[in-house]
Symmetry: C2
Subunit: 198 residues, 2 copies
DNA sequence: GTCTATAGTAGGATAGAC
DNA sequence: GTCTATCCTACTATAGAC
């Protein structure tokens, strides 16, 4: 019936929203299923009607967070330079670092991925590649120019993810702010000159 | 007595070496005290003769890894440009990413710090600041020039830490290699022009 | 200082009622 | 689909013998 189908869908989304926030802010191991379900207004037993395991939820939550963030921050398809710059500044903001809304799993969970199973890592990697593509200038012609644009996009994304991750790790708030500022300047500047690729 | 003192010191260092590697490669939560002690050739009970808690060990292991790495990779005091460049290339190498020797806790544990207690985070932050200082060109005079050098050093360090963390997270080996290459090029290039600091 | 043994706790996953 | 109750495992930390 449409009613129970709809109900199930709502429950599922409530779990996903809650889990995406909790996992990002506290990490996979520091969040229990109980915690997620209580915050979502249900009990532990109901969990397995929606997901097959905690790991399964992890992968789905990462994807959900990415899609939600992408919708609100970056328009579909080709973005203008101005839109890209606004996005970079918002990403490297203190509000994002402090965990506002649903934080980006790329930055918040980056060093957690190495220990996860294939499904989770592959989801994270796909989200990463999506971000790289969206930040890429597709103006150059020829494969050499495109390789340079790809490299510039990778540098930007690393500076965004790394900047947020480092700022969050630091004990010292003043230094964290300085890191964010430096990364904004770095990620917004003209792509660094391609030096050696070996 | 000197003998037992020495013995204790050896045990302690064995635990620290083992723990530094395991924590970096597998993360704090995915390593048990049992695992550390077995790999160090002892049993769980002996642990508490050396450290007061698992968290205590974590902080000490981070410091130990940093000191060990600093000794082998970067000379004390002022480094030459060439030494700095060799260090950056080694840091962003695939060998380091794959966990050779004792990997750098800054990159391997960056998004784990946000959930740790004050002692651990403050240790990590101190190690971070040490790396920033070592990568800094102290050639400029005047506070404006020094602020720019600080910013350039922060960008480099973020690109190193972020690059290794991202490369490790990625599922796709070819892409991971590309990320490392891009970050080497970025971190080795002339400091980006200072644009806006707001 | 290191061992074995154990207390105490937390959390993932399942079973069965409604 | 959601609930309560339970099983089972893993792990931190401590106690006490040597």
């Amino acid at each position: 019936m449409a009613w129970s189908e709809d109900h199930k869908q709502r429950s599922r989304e409530k779990i996903l929203t809650t889990a995406a926030g909790l996992f990002a802010r506290q990490g996979f191991d520091n969040v229990s299923i109980d915690q997620v379900m209580q915050a979502a207004g249900m009990t532990r037993g109901a969990f397995y009607a929606h997901f097959s395991s905690k790991t399964d939820l992890y992968a789905e939550a990462i994807l959900y967070a990415a899609n939600t963030a992408a919708e609100s921050y970056l328009p579909q398809g080709q973005a203008t330079d101005q839109q890209r710059e606004a996005f970079i500044a918002a990403y490297l903001s203190e509000a994002h670092c402090q965990g506002a809304d649903i934080p980006c799993p790329l930055a918040f969970l980056v060093s957690d991925m190495a220990h996860q199973d294939e499904g989770v890592r592959s989801t994270w990697s796909q989200v990463f590649q999506g971000l790289v593509k969206r930040l890429q200038n597709n103006t150059g012609e020829g494969s050499a120019a495109q390789a340079e644009e790809q490299q510039a996009a990778l540098q930007k994304v690393v500076m965004m993810i790394g900047g947020v991750a480092v700022a969050r790790a630091l004990n010292d708030n003043a230094l964290a702010t300085e890191v964010l500022e430096a990364c904004r300047a770095g990620a917004l500047s003209t792509p660094p000159i391609h030096l050696s690729e070996e």
